[in-house]
Symmetry: C2
Subunit: 545 residues, 2 copies
Amino acid sequence: MESFRVRSLYDFTGEANTAELSISAGQILTVIRTDVGEGWWEGINENGRSGLFPQAYVERIESSQPSTAPTPTLPIQNNVGWNAPQAQPQTQSSAPQEDDWDDDWDNDETYSEIGGNSAAPVENIYSNDRNLNLNSVNSDFSVESGINVDGKGTVTKKSLNRFSSYVKSGLESYILGTVNPTPNCYKIRIRKEGEIIRWDYITSPYTVQIASPKKATKMGGLKSFIAYHVTPSFSNIEVSRRYKHFDWLHDRLRAKYNILAIPPLPDKQVSGRYEEHFVEHRRMQLQEFINYMCRHPVLSQSEVWHHFLTCTDEKQWKQGKRNAERDQMVGANFCLQIEAPEKELLASNVEVTMDININSINQIDQALKGLMQTVVDQQKKCSNMYKRELQRVGESFFALGTAFESAERGMFSDFTTGIKRLGSTYITIGKLFEDQAKSDWQCLADKLYIYKGITGCYPDIFCLQKSAEQKKRECERNVQVQQPQLLEIRKRTDVLTYAVFAELTHFHSEKDGEIKQAMKTFLEEQVNFYKNIVSKLEETLQRFQ
Amino acid sequence: MESFRVRSLYDFTGEANTAELSISAGQILTVIRTDVGEGWWEGINENGRSGLFPQAYVERIESSQPSTAPTPTLPIQNNVGWNAPQAQPQTQSSAPQEDDWDDDWDNDETYSEIGGNSAAPVENIYSNDRNLNLNSVNSDFSVESGINVDGKGTVTKKSLNRFSSYVKSGLESYILGTVNPTPNCYKIRIRKEGEIIRWDYITSPYTVQIASPKKATKMGGLKSFIAYHVTPSFSNIEVSRRYKHFDWLHDRLRAKYNILAIPPLPDKQVSGRYEEHFVEHRRMQLQEFINYMCRHPVLSQSEVWHHFLTCTDEKQWKQGKRNAERDQMVGANFCLQIEAPEKELLASNVEVTMDININSINQIDQALKGLMQTVVDQQKKCSNMYKRELQRVGESFFALGTAFESAERGMFSDFTTGIKRLGSTYITIGKLFEDQAKSDWQCLADKLYIYKGITGCYPDIFCLQKSAEQKKRECERNVQVQQPQLLEIRKRTDVLTYAVFAELTHFHSEKDGEIKQAMKTFLEEQVNFYKNIVSKLEETLQRFQ
């Protein structure tokens, strides 16, 4: 084949000691081999280093000749000990994981952890960290066996099962139609309004409050945990949920809706989990997660989510849990639940729209990460550096006032009192910095955290869409594929693309609503904060008139 | 002798490799020997370390027995190469110093450096650093030869000439009446109003402006310097002065008025002396120095100061310079120019008042140093850290706005524009931090610098007063001293004490006036600054409504 050049769209970190090539977004690569298989290409970077990278992570930049798409082979059956994937959810939980859960879950049948009664559930130290990397999910594919590199630097396809995660994604089975939709399953509609492709509106909006986290213990105080009280507005029945329940829910959501952007849970934390400010902050973070769920046209209607929100009975909980874990309509197969517009999408239009979105989501993701980092830093600095600096100013003024007093022998002048007051004022302002950090910087950070998690989901979603398109093109070129089957494949690909577009529309509307509101609240808080400083200083100034 | 305990009033840093003992203010010492001579005592600190320290730096804390004051010997004639003292001015400039000046001063007679015409004077790189430690003057006695310590840790008086600086201070000659007042010399009155002892009021107050510093060169550009234009309100005739002229003036003032607190000059600086912001800042600092001089009842009437302010003729300048350097009424002998109340001071009252003042001035000095450091730090941080932090916040918001734009394909929403505006606002606020630092922190720092210099003068002043009292007591005990002579000695000691009290009164009135005004101005600037932030943020908030 003739080599051609591509530009990478995302960062990709190659596994160490394999033939994989780490690439960074925006890099130019020369592709020297497209028939590696399973979505891999081989190429050379600008430094002359060669290796494998996912085709879906790059875009071609010299299209004078038609794209020579690779012909992926059917993925090798994953019977060699596929790791419990961190990024790509499984359609079925592996046995040990299930056991883990049951261990924690079922040993103590005496107490209900599910109902509104928060008397006694169990908390384990997080011995599994399946989800620890939730937020760095983008390029998080693990490979079980190494990749064999021959002497000439070319790579055999043998054991190259890293992209068999696509199998796990359900993409193959969905596009090729090997899974049939569950009869009478709940249908999700996508609407097309002018140029806008969107999820159908939520007909019965509701809210969910998470409140009064309390530390509870069981087994005579040996085990303790934090129980959150979750109350949906549609039932007004409180249920008790622990972080591990949220965590299980989140796993299920990610498995089922891998073409949707799932809001992230707050990070796991090993130490200090029972400290009051941590618990309260986590409650606020979980509230942000819940709010996003409630606002999402698809997620808010999700069965597993409703199970989580409403189940108060231990046995029903277990049943619902097993049902969710056995759900066949997961991954790309979730598209079977979607009722999309009939109108066929124009391949070229799709590609342009996708490219624009890939580019802008990537930019937004980077900007959100940057802002989030800045905001978290400011939050910390308010409680530390700024507070300390202003208190030092205050203490220095106060010390001068005290020193002046020593010359006054008990007849303290207004000036001396004033200068001490000036000192106290700056100490108070220092404290203000600490206090306000919670209401402006931290609130903004919690909001940005959700959206950073959302944009972080998109590379995988884009990847799926690109892979679907590629699969479709393969089938179009494959003479063995019959016309009716091809029509079905095209339709299914379109449904998936419609879903991605609808999800993008949702993101942008969220952005214009929620992020805007968050910015506004932040600004209002900042204005109040500085006004507060002004009034404190003006009050002190009175003493010097 | 029986040992007794003392508390140190000031820090004293002993010379390395001598018998001197470093002490810090508030430390308790056990005095084991008071007959070391020349104002030195030997004692042991709490760590068991023994050595010599100046008696005037400590106060006795167990006075069950009468103070066994040492009997100082007459100081050894300083013919073994006494260093040009940094702290204690000389009554006559040493020859090399004079030559230095003349070198710099007289070589080029073509140009006047003295008149209002700033066309052409000379600037040398500061090759002499006689005055570099002006502000650490407190314990700045240098000793030419080392102190001999015998095997038992006691010290011989041999070569112990460090305190012969008292000779230089003119104290011996003043108290013992070896210098006669210049006939018809200008008399300075001290008034007693109730309990208040103060300098007579200034009858013709005036101000002096220092303006438009300009870089000038001579010798074909080989030498360059900054010429400041100094205009007193009483003459309205501009004179041109360089920093080195101020420096010479300052030396003269410190020599003549060692019982007064002379405001400090801005520090010497070797590099960056011609940079605009440095020159402008130094102008402001010199203005503060000048303002203090003008407000001082004694200094504002000083002959050498008037010479400095008014002389426009090169020859007259040289004559005035030589006159000033040959002035006999310097150091304690300046008291001969003072007309103090006739009323004899009560020794016990004086001691109590002195102790209170020593304590409070010491506290104020420490507090001013601390505040000054804090204020200078804040000033720097405004231009660096705070500015940088806020600009980072601004840039992060702006980047998010730009990223959002990328999804809008040219149809920029109000929200996107708003978020970019929010970014710009924080960048502007960062710049505000830098700008305002000049009008609040720096102004306050310049004011504090003057008063820190003033309080820094007091330990030496207190030292002189204590030495005078001690000299008086010695004479009272000395049977050879005749009654009329003793009366004169008592009177002279009282005049010196009256002068110290008057100077203290001036300090406190300055403090209540000038420092209060400086604090008020600072607060007003801070209020305006934070109001400015509020208005910038509120303006931006409009975009989010």
